[in-house]
Symmetry: C2
């Protein structure tokens, strides 16, 4: 199973079309302004010798430029735009100029510490930044046919291989990323050596002695870093003994039982590992499935947010999922979408898409405002008014990450294999794959995520056999597929309804996934959700905001037996709102803080809920996903 090349898929979807328009018209231009204003481009110009002054900001800030370029490549691949093109070209030229003749590129080290390169892989993110450079290079090549950054990328990758490798120095990055990037580079260039380099890094990680431990004793380098007193010690906490968990260096990948440490790092490692997993490598496959299970059955918010703790930007213990203080970094949910897609490709199992959609439509999209120019770094499931999206961050990983996810969304909606076309997530689009050399046009008309009904039309240039695989989500109620020209019922396998037949021009079917608003509860071991329910509709998790309620949603308790009303609204970019019935405490001034139980007044109330991703787009507010149950 693989994504379709970008030129074989054309989105015409209302939901994603709105996001793409916002991406090109607002998100990318405003992000470019931020890159300029915060010195991120200036840093690379300094590395290129074209500007004076010291490095500005955080040592991994080059990566934001690269992720921005990657997002531009996706955006420009879909839609020409002179302004974005100019921003993109400007960045590419600066990056080209900044690269050293030996292939090294990292403006922090080039400008401030030219003699301390590769001296602290754990903290200093050189390979991490290079990984994002490579992803940008591959995306630019694949979407735009532009080789400029692909060439920069291969030079950088070759430089890394000249320093690190099986017969050279043992080394991998504290923040995983380059591994998955090298695999993409191998795919784009056909050079297997990059894939093997990634495999070596993934498999070397977690053994003892760890190369990170020795870096602590590199006194000259350690005293130079700008991270004294911050939490980026080797284990992610100050002063503790090195256990490696923070950067997934605690155990070899094949022994992993659960996701630990920094959430984004973990995602990026597992993306690479899943890509590297050969079909007959049962050991690695099992480890990945164990890690996935530990994440999705014990350590994931209902929104697909992951990593509850701010202290390590990551994982804590099973079922520790506090709502008000949830970290649930936007990047981590993006990473979960990426990892899920690789697990899906590895196994062909549609269950992975359930989690991908959970993260995509909730915890990831909540990271960006509907206007496309403000961002959440953390995505709590309850707010008491203290949360607000901002235009940028000192550590600005999230804005370009959500931008590149939105830009590349078509990679995750449908897939092909040699003999099958997969519809994972319905969206209006036209795909033009070929099966056995026969070009086929598949047209999907959908109104997802607002409706579970969609239509697929198949137009092969001549009759051709292939499988059409239609995903049946776990949340589906009664599924109905109407395929007038077909007498055979679908086969159901691995979460898909499968039609394996010879397709002819004009074949068309309609699918109704049975999407109904429903109340969900959490495993009772999630203490923060006990006695609470969340309202969902298909892949969407709903949130209740004070603006719609007229009072803080914490006061509301839901009657899960009452009918849920659904109402299409033009507000918030066009969403389906849900209205629940329940009881609400009346907040009335009282002299006594504590009174006999039953003193407070309760009144019947209707609570209008909006999709979680759309919360906090009307000012700061009280918000709650997990409502108390009556």
């Amino acid at each position: 199973m693989r994504s379709l090349p970008f030129d074989q898929i054309k989105l015409s979807d209302a939901f994603w079309g709105r996001w793409h328009k916002v991406l090109v018209e607002t998100t990318l231009p405003t992000q470019f302004d931020q890159l300029e204003q915060t010195g991120r481009l200036a840093n690379l110009e300094r590395a290129a010798g074209k500007r004076d002054g010291d490095f500005e900001g955080l040592w991994f800030n080059d990566s934001d430029v690269y992720k921005f370029v990657e997002a531009c490549a996706y955006g420009l691949g879909m839609q020409r735009d002179a302004k974005v093109q100019a921003h993109y070209d400007r960045c590419v030229e600066i990056i080209q100029a900044a690269q050293q003749p030996d292939g090294y590129i990292n403006s922090f080290f080039q400008v401030r510490f030219p003699d301390l390169k590769w001296r602290n892989l754990h903290l200093m993110h050189e390979m991490y930044c290079g990984g994002h450079l490579i992803e940008a290079g591959v995306a630019a090549y694949e979407c735009l046919g532009d080789r400029r950054l692909l060439d920069v990328s291969t030079r950088f990758a070759d430089h890394v291989s000249s320093v690190f490798g099986p017969d050279k120095r043992l080394g991998y990055c504290g923040h995983e990323e380059i591994e998955l990037a090298l695999i993409r580079l191998a795919g784009a260039t056909g050079e297997e050596k990059y894939r093997e380099s990634a495999r070596w890094m993934v498999e070397s990680r977690g053994h003892r002695p760890s190369p990170f431990a020795a870096e602590l004793h590199d006194a000259e380098a350690v005293s130079a870093w700008p991270v004294q007193g911050c939490h980026f010690t080797t284990d992610g906490t100050l002063g503790g003994p090195y256990d490696g968990q923070y950067a997934q260096d605690h155990a070899p990948i094949r022994q992993h039982d659960s996701v630990v440490g920094h959430a984004v790092r973990a995602m990026y490692l597992y993306i690479a590992a899943a890509e590297l997993c050969d079909e007959d490598d049962v050991e690695l496959q099992s480890a990945l499935i164990r890690a996935w299970q530990s994440l999705t059955a014990r350590r994931m918010y209902i929104t697909g947010g992951i990593g509850p703790s701010s202290s390590n930007e990551g994982f804590t213990t099973d079922f520790d999922l506090p709502n008000l203080t949830a970290y649930a970094e936007t990047c981590a949910s993006c990473g979960l979408v990426f990892w899920g897609s690789k697990m899906l490709e590895m196994t062909g199992d549609g269950d992975y898409v359930d989690v991908m959609e959970r993260a995509l439509f909730n915890g990831a999209l909540s990271g960006i405002s509907l206007s496309g120019d403000r961002y959440f770094y953390t995505n709590p499931l309850e707010s008491r008014g203290g949360n607000e999206r901002t235009p940028w961050f000192g550590c600005a990983c999230c804005p370009p990450n959500i931008a590149r996810l939105i830009g590349s969304i078509s990679k995750y909606l449908v897939s092909v294999s040699d003999d099958a076309f997969y519809v994972h997530t319905p969206a209006s689009l036209e795909a033009t794959p070929s099966f056995g050399g026969v070009p086929v046009t598949l047209k999907i008309d959908a109104d997802y995520p607002w409706s579970g009904k969609y239509r697929v039309t198949v137009e092969p240039t001549e009759p051709v056999q292939f499988k059409l695989k239609l995903r049946i989500p776990a949340w589906s109620g009664e599924v109905e597929i109407d395929f007038p020209k077909c007498d055979e019922p679908a086969n159901y396998e691995s979460g898909y309804a499968v039609y394996d037949r010879v397709w002819k021009a004009g074949d068309a079917l309609t699918v109704d996934l049975g999407m109904e608003p429903s109340w969900v509860e959490a495993d009772p071991r999630v203490k923060d959700c006990l006695g609470r329910v969340a309202l969902t509709n298909g892949p969407l998790v709903y949130a209740c905001e004070e603006q719609d309620l007229g009072y803080a949603p914490q006061l509301f308790s839901a009657d899960t037996e009452a009918p849920i009303e659904q109402k299409k609204s033009k507000a918030l970019g066009g969403v389906s709102m849900l209205s629940a019935t329940g009881l609400a405490y009346v907040e009335s001034p009282a002299d006594e803080l504590f009174t006999a139980a039953g003193t407070a007044d309760l009144v019947e109330s209707q609570a209008t809920c909006i999709p979680y991703f759309a919360w906090c787009n009307r000012g700061t507010t009280n918000m709650q996903v997990w409502l108390r149950r009556m």
Copy 2:
């Protein structure tokens, strides 16, 4: 209204007797060992020139020695003990030796920074430490007739007055304490000047320009302090503009509307202010009552814990009372008991005792283990197993604070005025006040807090008129007073049942305060308590621990309509346990983290609850005060 002198009251109470035995036999000896082992005594020896080496520990560590001495004075006043006497004498001698000829004493400055005294009143706690010295001196004098520390105290107070005063330098301490201490010193010595010095400090506070602001610019001193990078900047947070809230320097005392900043500091300020408030000073009285109301109606846990936030060890916003992360410092609840007693004396209103008992029997006593040698600094109202009392702290303010509260408990149980005897909190004791020169023996037999029934016997040496005032708590149900020899019913005023009569030998009455287990709810504006109830019995708040339940109490929801069973137990030092009926989620391994509402199994369950103060005496555990309501 005033406390009885220590020699006019003799406790024979089961509840407080157990604590006093533990105090003398365990708490004081083990605290002395800690003072020795942690260098606190050594610091004073260094100041005295009797030991080499640098100052050890935190700059305010002398105060722990003083508070320990104060607690010893109370303990020895009640019960001779050779070991405690030796510890006490050792401390007194070291303190005497450490004092400079000019009266100054603070081992941190004497040992490490002799040239930087009085250079930073906001941060450096010199007056705070001196205040605790004075309290120790007064207690030793009043309980034991020992003048040694009283003399040290007057010399210190006179030294302070030689530096600071209306016609000298403007100055008061960042951590209030010396104000209330000077008032005690005035009482013990009869020297009004100390009281006036306190008044000047209290009234000077909060005006602009603040003397604290200037201290920031004392470069030589600022660079010397060992507190770089910790939260003790002038406003209690790093980098913000000076607003004075952290140390109640935000506004003059007479303009205070609500309690703000560091909780212990606020309590100590208000204790002094209440003591200084003249009967006709309506302005100050109103400010104190406003502050009290803001605290007890909007910013206090049901346990009498105050100051929810660890970041400033203090107050945040109205109704912000998170349970799991409650800071609720032991010292702050001790301070609330002290402040309440001064408000009670100022107003004669028994409502203050309701709050005092809430803090005393719950949030303060929870600060010490039943064994008397382990302490909580913070007192959360929910635990998920991460809490445990420890034998000592780097910042060890709490252990000797709870020790001195326990040691001096008789000050808070009953009071006298010229014509009245008050029973605030029932306890078995014998009091021997005089009214109009006639000695009277009042004997109380009680089993409080386990029972609301008690008996008072009055034995005047000759018939004498005075008022017997028996407090009727806010939680009282049907109160019954049986007074066979008296035909008149009691008058009820300001929370007391009052018998104003000529008392004769053998007069006796029994009181039943109508104590019944009951469920309590919080003001709906306390978001963390919505849908929750707490079990109480009289002054006691109950907690549910996993040990008694067999599963985490978070899984339980209470049926507030079902009867509550009460059972006396010998466990936990002898407590009344309460058993509630309800439903419990069954924690069973599930593959799915999120399922349709109603999936989880619920079973009927009985939840045995113990007094909050006794929690975590059987190992770390899941605990909850605010149980979900069915």
